[in-house]
Symmetry: D2
Subunit: 297 residues, 4 copies
């Protein structure tokens, strides 16, 4: 059953990864059953039975006591899980309540299409249950449109000269206020210092089909190379530029009649769709990073 | 881990469906753990936590005793499963050993492309571990090419007049020799009587994007209608023509320059790919029929 | 060369269709050459050299006299063309100046996604050089957002009871003010009377992959049928519901996990893209209707 | 009208490219009209009205005199064209008769899928009217299957040590016997010397979506990078490895469950389709190389 169609009640998502070995599913599902949990979705993946890495996502309907708050019920389950299962298998894991909506900070520059798509999808509640906390931009241009959506807009000018100062200002805004950062065609390079301190996943939409045409001006270079297909890539940001784990990619056909501006326009449509999917999947706890790649359930 | 990359050993696939209720996963994984099984793949789906239907596929590495044959180990597990789990939840289920290669009967008429694709994928072992047992055709045309693949070819002439007789002949060939029937552009209609008696799943490739253009001459009708995309559909055959559960579909763009012969040619490529995927997934026990639809894990 | 990249100057588009016979291209290109025109794009199509129908689109840079207005130069060319070429070959034709931006009337109901896409693409000038003249809706909901784009919003309530009256009101708004009507998920059926009187092409976005699931609730019916792909169709509206000439279609994969609301959401993205392309191509004079189908150059 | 549907008669294809300037279409179509030619297909493209490059492809039904051979009629037209049109505009051009079927030399190594696809499509006459002249391989493996298609098989062992000798042997086979060379997963690098002397276009299918993963082992590298889409590229071979003009590309989705062997298998299907289309288009004179890129009409 999809989350969207779920009956109300107390629903949680459990994300796990660890070295693969026998008994993981039985241990997890046994513990959930003892807590009265009903597994409504479950996906797992292993990179190999021997020496493999194991990944699992479960959506579970929980049974809260009559006087128990949802958070208390989740906390009770987390405590049991940590002691009885996670430690034993050396798991990385998290358990989130579906009712706790993730908060997104959107960073944008002049190009509006990715920002607009985020605003729109948020208005239609198509971001996997996430909300946009605020928008930050190094340009003042989008204040009007963002504020008309009822959202806060922070103009943080950023240049090479004041990069550190600008990043400090953004970190101050993010602090405790967000769960994920989305770069909606934010054209400033984030420093390793920023990424080290932000403590949140950062999702970027890159306007090429990585690893082809990493770096600047991908459409011009794609046109020069005479490719017949261009694309876009949503990925987690790491210190190495355009090399972080890929969440989603998609493509569109071009041909000899496509000028660079045509490719930019066609590519913008792909960027919007790819970023929308990636953010939705992240917010639904469907993505696990491991070894520079992602598992997307 | 994919089956292809599996270490040798005793590997089984378990397919389950039943009314959804709490505790199914825990019961199944608990029983497997008690038998020393290690779950290497697991997919599940529920149409809804309340009043929903539950589907699950697991790939499990089994632990056979030192003197136990693989079949004996599987039989031991089947017996436990029937008593301890399946009955309790009212499950439809089957457990198959990956080493037991399913046997396909391919039925074809004059058009060679779907037949050739089946032969070729079999030769490359791309049919999900299935083998082609033999080919039946209402035409003698393909005997040479089929026999050069080292396969038996049975020419069973079929007309409206001798339909019953022809179907009897085919049923006699299939009896005990096959696990699935693949209609690789077999242009004779199979009667309800045949389908009632065959006792095997029958997969057809239909040369249109069902339900658009069900019935005869889909490409001509697609051309008349001026569609911009045509496609193909692989489905299980039921008595109602072209209405059985869909396993896979795919499409290809056409335009005003595409003549009907062009569409036939472009469509043939889609038919080959779609049929190849559907047969592969069926052979890998990835498809569950329910309520006129399929779950494809 | 694409229009977007064109140098300024006097550029026209010529659309032609007629019975095919030798000499058409030579006659057209000869006349254009004598008028100092330079053909910068040319596409043609014939349904068959014998008894076929011929279609052509040309983009031409014209040579206006030093004191001649663009319209006068176009008029001079139209007059020659009518006398020397069009009459001789029995052509349907039109010659439009690229600088004359087509005016679109957008009709919408409650669902906002197709309307928003139109507004947004207009703001980015991605509608092939067309402008939105105004928006008409049978609901008051979208007034705020439309007016913030600087566009007029006309609320024309429409029910079965007042259909004729409502259509009269819409016709009065359209009269002389628009060149094309776009139904951006306008959920009222337009009568044959309206279509007969409107005298403009009407483009609709249908939320299914026609001819599959014509009529109401296509996503629910697609889900019931268990299809693996859903799509959307942009077409010219004719009196027969959902049967007009198809301009563009596209699709998206769904699977057993896709609920009807999921399909609605995924389908909405396809509808937006398909409608955007269809309106753009229409505005660029790339679409010719003939025999219930379209040629899209 | 597509070639396939053409009435018999004398049909030619004219490919042109030159610097763009006014009057080209009028000059070409005027000359064809004077020779009694009827243009049944025409495509053109210009990279820009000013300083642009112009490309055109026409399919023309010619009028041969009652006692004139097709070749004589074509020769007469070629002579006029050279004098009256081509010289004046500085054109690169060729005029071919559709009845003259291009001859393909297929070079293959161990991997059979691209070779088999070529054989099959030839048998079904799906190579745009081209015939396979013979197959050359550096392995003896495919002799049986090739000869059963009634085609000659030349085993030319090739190693680093004897590369020059092997290339000489292949050149001797090609000499005067072929019009195009198709590398159907031929895993030997062709030297600049070979390419300089062969005097024929050479089409390669590369098993990655160029420019991503140029070079060896693209699927392993794609898997390591965690891409969500892999593809294949058909291109003309130039001295710089994997950098020649791209004719066609296509892609297929992969995910975290796709092992490298899965990608190889999925990719092989894309390679077959992409190579089939590229060879077909080349044989139909639809491809013009210019500036390291292609125009594909």
């Amino acid at each position: 059953m999809t989350d969207a169609a779920a009956s109300p009640g107390l629903r949680a998502r459990l994300l796990i990864d660890c070295s693969d070995r026998p008994g993981i599913v039985a241990a997890v599902s046994g513990l959930l059953a003892r807590h009265g949990g009903n597994i409504v979705e479950s996906d797992q993946h292993s990179t190999g039975a021997a020496d493999g890495h194991f990944f699992m996502r479960m959506v579970v309907d929980l049974d809260a006591g009559p006087t128990e708050t949802p958070e208390a019920a989740a906390e009770r389950l987390r405590a049991s899980f940590a002691v009885e299962v996670a430690g034993r298998f050396g798991m990385r894991w998290r358990l989130t309540l579906v009712q706790n909506r993730p908060r997104i900070a959107v960073l944008a520059s002049r190009e509006p299409h990715a920002l607009m798509e985020m605003l729109w999808r948020w208005q239609r509640d198509e971001l996997g249950g996430a909300d946009i906390a605020f928008v930050v931009s190094n340009h003042p241009d989008h204040r009007g449109v963002v504020e008309r959506f009822g959202l806060n807009y922070h103009h943080v000018p950023a240049t090479r000269a004041n990069r550190e100062e600008a990043e400090d200002a953004i970190l101050a805004l993010l602090d405790g206020a967000c769960d994920v950062v989305v770069l909606a065609r934010y054209m400033q390079i984030l420093t390793g210092g920023f990424l080290g301190r932000v403590g949140l996943p950062v999702i970027n939409i890159h306007h090429s089909f990585l690893p082809a045409f990493a770096g600047a001006e991908p459409y011009r270079r794609a046109s020069d190379r005479g490719v017949k297909i261009v694309g876009a890539t949503a990925h987690y940001v790491t210190e190495e530029l355009d090399a972080g784990p890929i969440i989603e990619q998609d493509v569109v056909r071009v041909d000899h009649r496509s000028s660079v501006p045509d490719m930019v326009r066609l590519g913008a449509d792909v960027e919007r769709m790819v970023l929308g999917r990636a953010v939705r999947w992240h917010a639904e706890d469907k993505v696990i990073e491991h070894g520079g790649k992602t598992v997307v359930f």
